[in-house]
C-alpha cells in the first residue's frame, strides 16, 4: 500500500486519536500524523502551514462535537481559507453521532467527502486510503 504524506486527526477524544494513529501506523498508510483536540487549534495550525509554505494535510478525520470550535465551525473557517488558497484536502467526518440531521448536513457540504460513524475499523481505513489514491 502506498503512503499518504500528511494526515490530520481533529478530535477531542484523546483515546480515539491514539487508537486511530496506532492503526494508521500499523497499516503504514502515512508518514506524518498530526492530531488537534479542537477545531480552533487545527485551524490555527492550518493557517500557519499555509503561511510557512509547508505541505498541507492531504486527508483530515474531523470530529463534530468538540468544545471551543466544533467540526461545523471548522468547515466554515476552512471554506474561508480555501477561497484564498487552492487546497485539495480530502475531509472525512468521523463521529459517534448517528443523528440523521448531522449526516444530512455533512452530505450538503461540498468540502466533506463522506461521513463515517465511529469506530473506524481497519477495513474502512483501507477502503478510504484505496479511494484516496483512485481519485488522485
Amino acid at each position: 500500500m502506498k503512503t499518504i504524506e500528511n494526515i490530520w486527526i481533529i478530535d477531542d477524544d484523546s483515546l480515539y486519536t491514539l487508537l486511530l494513529t496506532k492503526t494508521l501506523l500499523k497499516l503504514k498508510a502515512c508518514n506524518n500524523i498530526s492530531s488537534f483536540h479542537n477545531g480552533e487549534v487545527a485551524i490555527d495550525a492550518l493557517k500557519e502551514t499555509i503561511a510557512s509554505g509547508n505541505p498541507l494535510p492531504e486527508l483530515i478525520f474531523l470530529d463534530i462535537n468538540m468544545s471551543i470550535m466544533d467540526g461545523w465551525e471548522f468547515i466554515e473557517e476552512y471554506k474561508q481559507l480555501k477561497s484564498d488558497k487552492d487546497m485539495s484536502t480530502v475531509i472525512y467526518i468521523a463521529s459517534s453521532s448517528i443523528s440523521e440531521d448531522d449526516m444530512n448536513k455533512a452530505k450538503s457540504l461540498n468540502e466533506i467527502h463522506d461521513y463515517i460513524v465511529k469506530p473506524i475499523n481497519v477495513a474502512t481505513l483501507q477502503n478510504i486510503i484505496q479511494r484516496f489514491y483512485e481519485q488522485k
Binding site: 477531542d12 483515546l15 480515539y16 487508537l19 496506532k22 468538540m66 468544545s67 459517534s96
Partner: protein, 894 residues
C-alpha cells in the same frame, strides 16, 4: 364473536366513516407526524393507519411504498382495534403469516411499536406505528412521544370533522336555494328510495294532489301510483348505473288528466352515485296537441275503390282492404263487397245507390254500417260516381272511409243532453243559476250541501242572505259585472243556513241568449281548507324567517349590485361591531364601508360577479382582551345561464373555533418543541455512549492483535480508563434523565439565603483560593416556591461557574440580586469574569453539545441541567454577557 362485540365493531366502523378520512389524498399534517414519529424512534418506517372492515388504510407512511394492507396482515398477534400499546422487540418470536407484506424480503420487519388512535367517541379507529428492520427496544420516552402524537392525530381528526360538517351545511344551503327557485317539481331520492330532499313546488304539488304533507325520509312509493311502480323501478335502476332517463308519464296525479315529463338524473359524489334527482315538469299542453294530431291523421285515412263495368272487375285500395280487415291480396267482387254491409237498411241502401249509379250515373254518398271479415261493426262512408265513355257508363269509382269514431261522437252528442243534466246535478262542486235579481233559479246538491240546506229550500232564495255583510258590496259588484256580460271569479265569505262561516271561490258566467244576459250561471268551491293551508304556509314562512333570524350564522342577501335585500340578526350584530352602523335594506353594502376598505370590497364584488365563491377570515379587535374572528363567504347565486343574479354574504362567528385553533397550534408547537428536545436528547445519549463503546471496540481489536505483553498491558490500561469514563457518563446521564422523570416533585416555599450559604459552604475552598467576594443584595426573608433539590443544584452550578470562569486579572465579585418582572420573581447572578462570546456561543450555551470526555468542558452539562430544572418548574433562564467584562444570569421563577 358475540353480539356485543359485533355491535361494537359496527359502531366503531360508523364512527370511523364519520371522519371521511379513508381514501383521501395525503396531507402535510399527517405526513409531518409520521416523519416526527420516525425521527423520535429512530425507526425507518412510520405509519398512520385507519382500520376499516377489511383493511388497514394508510393516511401517511414513511419508509414503505404501499398504502394499505389487509386488515389481518397485522404485525404480531394482538388485535389492531385494541386500545393498547403494542411493542414487539423481535417479530421472530411471533408466528407471522408468511405471505404478509411485512415479512417479505423487501421490508423484513423485526421490531415495532404501535399506539392506538382513539376517536372522540372512544373507539380505536386506527394506529400510529413505527417499525424497524433490526431487533431493538423502544424507550419510555419514545413510547410516550408516540402516544402524544396519537392524541394530536385525534385532535386533527376532530377538527376535520367539524370543518366537514360546516362545508356540508354550506353546500346544502346553496343547493336548497337553487332548487327552491325552480318552477319544476324536484325530488332527491337516496338509493333506498327514500325522499331525502324536495323543493317548495314539490311540497305544494304533493299537498294539493294527495292532501299529504311530504316529509324527508318518506318512501317514494307513498307518492307513486301502483301502476307506475314497475316503470319507476326500472328507470331508477338504470339511473343508479349512471344513465340519465327521460320518461313521459302520468305520475302522482290520479285526479286530472295531466301529462308530466319525469327526468331521472344521478347525483354523484366522488364518482359514486349517492342519490337520484327526479325533476317533474308539466307538459300537458304540448302532449294534448300531439294527441290531437294523431286523431286527425287517423280520421283522414281514406281508402278508394273502382269498378270496371266492362270487364266486371272490382278493385279496392289497401286502406279499403284494411278497413274490411281482409288480406291485401283479397280479390273482391261486387256481390262479396255488398255482403260486407250490414243486412237490412245498410245493405239495401248501398245496393240501391250502386244500382242507380250504374244505370243513371247518379253519384252517391252514404253513411252505413258494415261488418268486417273479422266481425267488427263499423260505420263507413262510401262515396261513388260514374265515368262515361261515349254515353255509356264504363266505370264506377269513389272513396271508402271508416267513420266509426266520428259516428260514435255523433251518437254521444245525442245523449249528451242527458249528461249535461246529470253533470249539473251530480257535480261535486256547487253549481247554480241565478236570475237577474240574484235569486236561485236552480241549484244542485253541491250547493245545498255547501249551504247546509236542501235544493227545494234554496230555490227562489236570494244569494244575499248567504253573504256576510263585509263581503256584500264586493259580491254585488261582481254580479253587476256578470250582468254586463263579463265572466268573473273571486273569493268571498259564505254563511250557511246553520250559520257556519266558510270561504268560497265563485265563478260567475253570464248566460247569454241572443245577445242578452238572461241569467247568471255560478260555480262555487269551498276553499276554506286551502285558505287554511295558505295561512299555514304563511305561518311556516314566518317560521322560516324566525329560523333565518335565529341561526348563529349571519346572512346578508344582496342584489348583484351589492344592494342589501335582506339580512338577519347575526349579520346586523356583525355589521354594528365592525362598522359601528346598522344595515339598512336597499342601501348599498359597499357604501357602508370606510373609504380604504371600499377598494377591497369592490375587488371581492368583481370576483363574485363572475361566479366565484370568495371566502376569507376577518379579525375584529375591539379592546385588548376582546377580539372576534369571523369567517366571511360571498356566495354567488346563479341563474340558469350562470349569470349571477344575487349574492349571499355569509358571516360565521368562528371566534371560539379560531381560539381553539390557536390553542391547538400552541400546544402543537409546544409538543413539537418537546419532541425536538427529546429527539436531541436521545441523540446526545447515543452519541455519548457510542463514543466510549467505539473506543472499547477499537481497543479490543488491538488487544486481539497485540504482538507483545507490553502492548497488551497498555491496551488494558486504556480499557480501564474508558470503563471509568463510561461509568461517569452514565452517572451524568442519570442526572439528566432524573429531571425528566421527576413527575411529582415537591414544591415548597424556600428561603434563598439558606441555599446561597449552603452553596458557598460547598465551594469554600475555591472561594478562598480565588479570593472571591460574594455580594448578597437579597432580603433575608426572600423566598421562592421551588423544589429544594433543584434549587440546591442551581445555586451550586451558577456560583461554581462564576468562580471557575473568573477573570485572571481582577478579584472575582459575584452579586446576587432580585427584581420583579410583570409580577414574576427574577433572581440575578452577576459576575465580573471572562464573559461569553454571545454571538458565537450564545445559542450553544444551554445546549447539550459538549461531550463528557475527560478533556471536555463541564459547563455544558451543568447549564443544561439547570435549564431543564428551571423549565421543569415552569420558569426560564436568560443570560447577558460581554466578553472580558462579565456575565449575568437571570432566573425567572414561576
Amino acid at each position: 364473536m358475540d353480539i356485543s362485540v359485533l355491535n361494537n365493531e359496527n359502531n366503531r366502523l360508523t364512527d370511523l366513516l364519520s371522519y371521511h378520512i379513508l381514501d383521501t389524498p395525503a396531507e402535510d399534517e399527517y405526513n409531518n407526524i409520521v416523519s416526527l414519529a420516525s425521527k423520535l424512534c429512530s425507526a425507518p418506517i412510520a405509519v398512520i393507519s385507519f382500520v376499516d372492515e377489511t383493511r388497514q388504510w394508510f393516511k401517511a407512511q414513511k419508509g414503505i411504498n404501499f398504502s394499505q394492507t389487509n386488515r389481518d396482515e397485522n404485525l404480531g398477534e394482538q388485535s389492531v382495534t385494541e386500545n393498547e400499546t403494542h411493542i414487539v422487540t423481535d417479530t421472530l418470536k411471533y408466528s407471522q403469516p408468511s405471505e404478509s407484506v411485512w415479512a417479505s424480503g423487501e421490508y423484513n420487519i423485526r421490531s415495532y411499536a404501535s399506539v392506538p388512535i382513539v376517536s372522540e367517541n372512544g373507539y380505536v379507529i386506527g394506529r400510529l406505528f413505527v417499525s424497524d428492520t433490526t431487533v431493538r427496544e423502544f424507550t419510555t420516552i419514545q413510547i410516550e412521544g408516540l402516544k402524544q402524537l396519537s392524541t394530536l392525530i385525534s385532535a386533527l381528526l376532530a377538527f376535520r370533522k367539524k370543518r366537514n360538517a360546516k362545508l356540508n351545511a354550506n353546500q346544502n344551503m346553496l343547493a336548497t336555494s337553487y332548487i327552491n327557485n325552480l318552477s319544476d317539481v324536484v325530488f332527491i331520492i337516496d338509493p333506498a328510495k327514500n325522499i331525502i330532499g324536495f323543493n317548495r313546488i314539490a311540497a305544494q304539488y304533493i299537498l294539493s294532489d294527495t292532501g299529504k304533507e311530504v316529509k324527508e325520509g318518506d318512501s317514494v312509493y307513498s307518492y307513486i301510483d301502483s301502476h307506475l311502480t314497475e316503470s319507476f323501478n326500472n328507470h331508477f335502476a338504470q339511473v343508479m348505473q349512471g344513465a340519465k332517463v327521460n320518461d313521459y308519464i302520468q305520475v302522482f296525479t290520479p285526479k286530472n288528466d295531466r301529462w308530466w315529463s319525469v327526468q331521472y338524473a344521478p347525483i354523484q359524489d366522488n364518482k359514486k352515485i349517492i342519490a337520484v334527482s327526479l325533476t317533474i315538469s308539466d307538459i300537458t299542453e304540448s302532449k294534448k296537441t300531439e294527441r290531437q294530431y294523431e286523431e286527425i291523421s287517423n280520421v283522414s285515412k281514406v281508402g278508394g275503390w273502382e269498378m270496371d263495368l266492362v270487364n266486371d272487375i272490382l278493385k279496392w285500395s289497401d286502406i279499403t282492404k284494411q278497413s274490411h280487415e281482409v288480406d291485401l291480396d283479397f280479390k273482391p267482387t261486387l256481390e262479396i263487397a255488398l255482403n260486407f254491409y250490414k243486412p237490412g237498411r245498410s245493405r239495401d241502401r248501398i245496393k240501391k245507390a250502386i244500382d242507380e249509379a250504374i244505370t243513371t250515373g247518379k253519384p252517391f254518398d252514404e253513411e252505413v254500417e258494415l261488418i268486417t271479415q273479422k266481425g267488427k261493426h263499423l260505420w263507413v262512408r262510401t262515396k261513388g260516381q260514374a265515368e262515361f265513355h261515349k254515353d255509356k257508363i264504363t266505370r264506377l269509382f269513389g272513396t271508402f272511409q271508416d267513420v266509426t269514431e266520428k259516428r260514435n261522437i255523433y251518437e254521444e252528442l245525442l245523449i249528451s243532453q242527458q249528461y249535461y243534466k246529470s253533470l249539473f246535478e251530480q257535480n261535486p262542486d256547487a253549481v247554480f243559476a241565478l236570475d237577474l235579481n240574484e235569486k236561485f233559479i236552480s241549484v244542485n246538491e253541491g250547493v245545498a250541501k255547501l249551504a247546509e240546506s236542501t235544493v227545494e229550500e234554496m230555490i227562489n232564495k236570494g244569494f244575499a242572505q248567504f253573504c256576510p255583510v263585509e263581503d256584500a258590496a264586493m259580491v254585488m259588484h261582481n254580479f253587476n259585472e256578470a250582468q254586463l256580460g263579463k265572466a268573473t271569479s273571486y273569493d268571498c265569505g259564505f254563511v250557511t243556513a246553520n250559520g257556519h262561516k266558510k270561504q268560497i271561490n265563485i265563478t260567475n258566467l253570464p248566460v247569454i241568449i241572443n245577445g242578452v244576459v238572461v241569467a247568471i250561471y255560478g260555480i262555487a268551491k269551498d276553499i276554506s281548507e286551502s285558505i287554511e293551508a295558505k295561512n299555514q304556509l304563511l305561518k311556516s314562512a314566518a317560521n322560516l324567517r324566525t329560523v333565518f333570524d335565529n341561526t348563529e350564522i349571519g346572512y346578508i342577501l344582496l342584489t348583484n349590485d351589492f344592494k342589501i335585500v335582506s339580512f338577519n340578526k347575526p349579520a346586523q350584530d356583525y355589521t354594528r361591531r365592525k362598522l359601528q352602523k346598522p344595515l339598512v335594506e336597499s342601501e348599498n353594502l359597499v357604501g357602508m364601508y370606510e373609504t380604504d376598505r371600499m377598494a377591497a370590497l369592490d375587488a371581492i364584488k368583481v370576483r363574485v360577479l363572475v361566479g366565484e365563491k370568495v371566502e376569507y377570515e376577518r379579525n375584529i379587535k375591539l379592546h385588548e382582551n376582546e377580539d372576534y374572528w369571523y369567517n366571511i363567504i360571498f356566495h354567488p347565486v346563479s341563474g340558469e345561464n350562470n349569470e349571477v343574479l344575487g349574492v349571499i354574504m355569509e358571516i360565521e362567528n368562528i371566534t371560539s373555533r379560531k381560539k381553539s385553533e390557536i390553542e391547538l397550534e400552541k400546544s402543537f408547537n409546544l409538543l413539537n418543541e418537546q419532541n425536538k428536545r427529546l429527539l436531541n436528547f436521545s441523540y446526545i445519549i447515543s452519541h455519548n455512549l457510542r463514543s466510549h463503546t467505539s473506543n472499547i471496540k477499537s481497543i479490543l481489536t488491538f488487544l486481539e492483535e497485540a504482538e507483545n505483553d507490553e502492548e497488551k498491558a497498555e491496551m488494558l490500561q486504556h480499557l480501564k480508563n474508558v470503563s471509568g469514563s463510561l461509568d461517569e457518563t452514565i452517572h451524568n446521564l442519570n442526572d439528566v434523565v432524573s429531571i425528566n422523570n421527576s413527575v411529582n416533585l415537591i414544591y415548597k416555599p424556600l428561603f434563598l439565603i439558606e441555599f446561597i450559604s449552603k452553596a458557598t459552604d460547598v465551594l469554600k475552598e475555591q472561594i478562598i483560593q480565588k479570593k472571591a467576594i460574594i455580594q448578597n443584595k437579597l432580603l433575608i426573608d426572600t423566598s421562592v416556591n421551588f423544589n429544594p433539590a433543584f434549587l440546591e443544584s442551581i445555586m451550586l452550578n451558577f456560583l461554581s461557574n462564576a468562580i471557575k470562569y473568573s477573570h485572571p486579572d481582577r478579584q472575582p465579585i459575584i452579586t446576587l440580586d432580585s427584581y420583579l418582572h410583570n409580577g414574576q420573581f427574577v433572581l440575578t447572578i452577576s459576575d465580573n469574569g471572562i464573559g461569553i462570546d454571545m454571538e458565537k456561543n450564545g445559542d450553544k450555551l444551554f445546549g447539550f453539545y459538549k461531550t463528557f470526555n475527560g478533556n471536555s468542558d463541564a459547563r455544558g452539562l451543568g447549564l443544561f441541567i439547570c435549564k431543564n430544572q428551571v423549565e421543569y418548574m415552569g420558569g426560564k433562564i436568560e443570560v447577558e454577557s460581554t466578553l472580558g467584562v462579565g456575565t449575568t444570569f437571570k432566573i425567572f421563577f414561576k
